[in-house]
C-alpha cells in the first residue's frame, strides 16, 4: 500500500496498465516530456518511450480522432484533454464517431479508449478551467462516464476503464488532485464501472454526489448531525451506466433526497437522477427532491466559492427536506 494523492493514483494506474498491456498508449498536449500540466503522466514517456506517450499537436479534435483510428487498429489509447473546458473542439469526434462507431458499424468496428480529463472548479480557474461538462456526454449513447472522488477508486476505476471494451470518459476532479490522500494498493486492481458506493450510511436524508462534491457532502453530513439529520452519502462514481439500485435502495430507506453537483442546474445530471427517483420510488418520498447545484450562469472567477455548492449550502438543503 502506498499513500497517494488522487493525481498520483492516476499516474499509478497508467503506469500499471502500460506495464501490463503494450497496447496502452497515451497522447495529448504536454503529456510527454512535461508529464502533463498536472503531472498525471510524469516520467511515463521516459519509462515507455515516445511511441507510447505522445506529445501531440495542440488540437483536441485531432487527439480524439487520432485515438479513434488507433483504437480501431488494435491499440488502447488513453488520450488526455488538458482541461474539460477544452474538450469541445473534440465534441464531434467523441459524440459522432467514438461513441457511435460500434453501433453504426453493427459491431464490426469498436474504439475502446479512455478520455481522461480534469474537470471542475474550486481552483481559481475561471470559466475556461473550471467547468463540469458531464451532461454533454451522459446524453450520448455509447459512452460511459466515470468520475472518481478518492485515490483508491481513481486507480481502480481507471484500470477498469482501460480494460473496458467501450469508450469511457474519465473525469478527474482536479480540485481533489492533491487535496485528498489515501491508501492505494501497489498491484493492479479494478473498481467495477457502473457501481455506486454508500460512503456514509445514514437514515434520514440521502445525499447524492460524484467527484469533488462527495467530500462536500461528507462535510455537510457532519454539519447536519448535531442539527438532527443523519445523512447517507452516495458516491455515484459512474454516471453512465448509472447504478440505479444503490440510489433507489437508499431513497426507499430515507424518503428524502438532496442531489449535489457543480454543473449548472438546468438539465444537470441531478435532473436525471431526480426523474429516476420519481419514476421508480415516488411512494417512498417524504419530501420534494432538492438539487444543490451550480448556478445557471457561466462559471465565474472571483466569486466561484459562492457559485459552487459548499457544505453549508448542502446542509441548508438537508434541513429543508428534513423539515418539509
Amino acid at each position: 500500500m502506498a499513500n497517494l494523492t488522487l493525481v498520483q493514483a492516476v499516474r499509478d494506474a497508467l503506469l500499471t496498465e502500460m506495464t501490463l498491456d503494450p497496447r496502452v498508449v497515451l497522447m495529448g498536449e504536454d503529456v510527454g516530456l512535461n508529464g502533463g500540466v498536472f503531472r498525471a503522466t510524469e516520467g511515463l514517456q521516459k519509462e515507455f518511450g515516445e511511441d507510447r506517450v505522445m506529445d501531440t499537436p495542440l488540437a483536441e479534435s485531432g487527439i480524439i480522432g487520432l485515438a479513434c483510428g488507433m483504437a480501431v487498429n488494435g491499440m488502447k489509447p488513453v488520450p488526455e484533454i488538458q482541461f474539460m473546458d477544452f474538450i469541445f473542439p473534440a465534441f464531434d469526434q467523441i459524440v459522432s464517431e467514438v461513441a457511435k462507431l460500434r453501433y453504426r458499424s453493427g459491431g464490426g468496428f469498436t474504439c475502446p479508449m479512455v478520455i481522461r480529463t480534469p474537470y471542475g472548479g474550486g481552483i481559481k480557474g475561471g470559466h475556461y478551467h473550471s467547468q463540469s461538462g458531464e451532461v454533454y456526454f451522459t446524453h450520448t449513447a455509447g459512452l460511459k462516464v466515470v468520475v472518481p472522488s478518492n485515490p483508491y477508486d481513481t486507480k481502480g476505476l481507471l484500470i477498469a476503464a482501460i480494460r473496458d471494451p467501450d469508450p469511457v470518459l474519465f473525469m478527474e476532479p482536479k480540485r481533489l488532485y492533491r487535496s485528498v490522500k489515501g491508501e492505494v494498493p501497489e498491484e493492479a486492481y479494478t473498481v467495477e464501472i457502473g457501481k455506486a458506493q454508500v460512503v456514509r450510511p445514514g437514515k434520514d436524508v440521502t445525499l447524492i454526489a460524484w467527484g469533488a462534491m462527495v467530500p462536500v457532502c461528507l462535510k455537510a453530513a457532519e454539519l447536519c448531525e448535531p442539527r438532527g439529520a443523519d445523512c447517507e452519502v452516495i458516491d455515484v462514481r459512474t454516471l453512465v451506466p448509472l447504478d440505479e439500485e444503490t440510489i433507489l435502495e437508499s431513497v426507499r430507506k430515507t424518503g428524502r433526497v438532496v442531489i449535489v453537483h457543480e454543473a449548472q442546474k438546468t438539465c444537470g445530471f441531478g435532473a436525471e437522477i431526480s426523474a429516476l427517483i420519481s419514476e421508480e420510488a415516488i411512494l417512498s418520498l417524504e419530501a420534494p427532491i432538492v438539487r444543490v447545484t451550480g448556478l445557471d450562469t457561466p462559471f465565474p472567477y472571483t466569486l466561484e466559492h459562492i457559485y459552487l455548492p459548499d457544505p453549508e449550502r448542502v446542509a441548508l438543503a438537508v434541513g429543508k427536506v428534513k423539515n418539509f
Binding site: 488540437a59 483510428g69 440505479e244
Partner: protein, 395 residues
C-alpha cells in the same frame, strides 16, 4: 445514368462566383492519357493485362452500381442514394495501388473502393435497404457501408471525420512496425473541415504512412471550390503540413494509379504522408435529394462529359488491343446480371428485428437498455404492429 442537366434551360450567371469557365483541365495535373486518350509512355504505369482489365471491370461495375442505386431510389424502392458518376477513375485507380491489408477510410461517395476491395454486392445492397442482412443492421442511411473484415472503415455523414482517424490507424501500424498504410478519401469541401487540418497536421508531424485522396469534384453540394478555399490548388495545401502534394487528372485512371502508387510506396518506406488532389467533376447530383441544375452551369457538365473516365480507359485498352465491342457487350451483360441477381436477393430481406435496436450500443447492454427493451416488447404486445410514419428524406 448521368444527370442530363445539359438539357436544362436554366443558366446560372457567374456573378456570384459560381464556376463559369468551360472545361480546361488545369495544366498542373499529372496525366497519363492526353485528350485523345493516348498514353504518355514516359509516365504510363506498367500494369499487367489482368490488372488493367480488372480495373476496367471495377470501374464499369461502379457505374452500373450507381445507376442501379439511383434507379432504385427513383422507383421508391430505397430511400436515398449517393452516386459517384464521373469519379470512377479515382476510386479504382487509388484502390488498385493498395494491398489487401491496407486500411481504407472512405467518404460516402466511394462505392468503387468497396467494390474494388471485394465487398459483397449483396451486402452493399442490403445496406441500401437497411435490412436484416445489412452489416450495419439498418442503423445508417444508405451508402454508409462498413466492412471491418476488409479494413473498410465505417462511413460517417459528418464531413472529413475519417481523415484524422486514418492517421491514427496508420500510426498504430507504424508503432507496431507493420507495413500497412492507410488511405483516406474526402472531397474539396472536406478540406475546409477541422479534421482535414488536424489530420494533415498530425500526419506531417508524426510522419505516418497515410495517403490523403482529395476528390476535387468542384462542388460541395451546391458550393463551388472557389468558395471553399482561396488557394489556387488544393494540392498546395500540402506544403503547409510538411508533405508532398500532387494534383492529378482524376478522370485518368492510370494517372491516379501512378500518383497513388508512388504515395503508397513512400508511405510504406517510412517516408511519410502525401496529399493527392484528384481533379474531376461530379457528373451526378450530390445525392438523390439534390438537383444540380439549381447551381451548376451545363457547359461544365458538357465539357466533362467528353472526358468520361470509363470511356477514356476503354479507348486506352482498345489501343492496346485488350478490349473491343464484343468484350464490352459480354461484360455489360455479365455485370448487369450479377447486379440484378444481388438486387433481387437483397430486396427480399426482411427489416432488422426490434431487438437489434439495443445491440452494439455497448458490448453488453446496460440495465437501462434492457429495461427499455422490455418495455418496448410489452408495448408491442399491447398495440401490435408499429405504424411507419416516416416522411421521405429530406422532405
Amino acid at each position: 445514368m448521368l444527370e442530363k442537366n445539359s438539357k436544362s434551360k436554366k443558366k446560372k450567371t457567374s456573378s456570384n462566383g459560381h464556376a463559369k469557365a468551360p472545361f480546361v483541365l488545369r495544366p498542373d495535373c499529372l496525366r497519363v492519357l492526353d485528350e485523345a486518350n493516348r498514353p504518355n509512355t514516359k509516365v504510363e504505369p506498367k500494369l499487367s493485362k489482368e490488372v488493367l482489365i480488372r480495373m476496367y471491370r471495377q470501374m464499369q461495375m461502379t457505374r452500373f452500381f450507381d445507376e442501379r442505386g439511383m434507379l432504385l431510389q427513383r422507383q421508391g424502392r430505397i430511400g436515398f442514394y449517393v452516386p459517384s458518376f464521373g469519379q470512377e477513375a479515382i476510386q479504382i485507380g487509388t484502390s488498385a495501388a493498395l494491398k489487401q491489408n491496407d486500411w481504407i477510410f472512405p467518404s460516402y461517395r466511394e462505392p468503387g473502393v468497396f467494390i474494388s476491395r471485394g465487398a459483397s454486392l449483396f451486402e452493399m445492397l442490403c445496406n441500401l435497404w437497411g435490412n436484416a442482412s445489412d452489416v450495419c443492421k439498418g442503423r445508417q442511411m444508405p451508402v454508409h457501408y462498413s466492412f471491418s473484415d476488409l479494413r473498410l472503415f465505417s462511413v460517417s455523414s459528418p464531413i472529413s471525420t475519417q481523415v484524422i482517424q486514418a492517421v491514427g490507424a496508420s500510426l498504430a501500424s507504424k508503432i507496431r512496425k507493420e507495413k500497412d498504410v492507410a488511405i483516406t478519401y474526402f472531397g474539396d469541401g472536406g478540406t475546409s473541415e477541422n479534421d482535414f487540418h488536424t489530420g494533415l497536421t498530425f500526419a506531417g508531424v508524426m510522419k505516418t504512412p497515410t495517403v490523403f485522396i482529395c476528390t476535387n469534384n468542384q462542388f460541395a453540394i451546391s458550393v463551388p471550390t472557389a468558395k471553399q478555399t482561396a488557394a489556387e490548388r488544393i494540392a498546395d495545401k500540402a506544403i503547409g503540413y510538411g508533405m508532398p502534394g500532387v494534383a492529378v487528372d482524376g478522370n485518368d485512371v492510370l494517372a491516379v494509379y501512378a500518383a497513388t502508387q508512388e504515395a503508397v510506396d513512400r508511405a510504406r518506406r517510412g517516408e511519410g504522408p502525401t496529399l493527392i488532389e484528384c481533379v474531376t467533376f461530379r457528373m451526378g447530383p450530390h445525392s438523390s435529394s439534390d438537383d444540380p441544375t439549381r447551381y451548376r452551369d451545363s457547359k461544365m457538365y458538357d465539357a466533362w462529359a467528353k472526358r468520361d473516365p470509363i470511356q477514356r480507359f476503354r479507348q486506352y485498352l482498345e489501343g492496346k488491343k485488350l478490349w473491343d465491342a464484343k468484350k464490352q457487350e459480354e461484360l455489360e451483360k455479365e455485370l448487369k446480371a450479377t447486379l440484378a441477381e444481388a438486387v433481387e436477393k437483397a430486396e427480399k430481406e426482411p427489416a432488422p428485428s426490434i431487438e437489434t435496436l439495443f445491440e452494439d450500443v455497448y458490448e453488453q447492454p446496460t440495465a437501462q437498455l434492457l429495461r427499455q427493451q422490455e418495455a418496448l416488447q410489452k408495448e408491442q404486445e399491447l398495440r401490435g404492429k408499429f405504424e411507419n410514419t416516416s416522411e421521405a428524406f429530406p422532405l
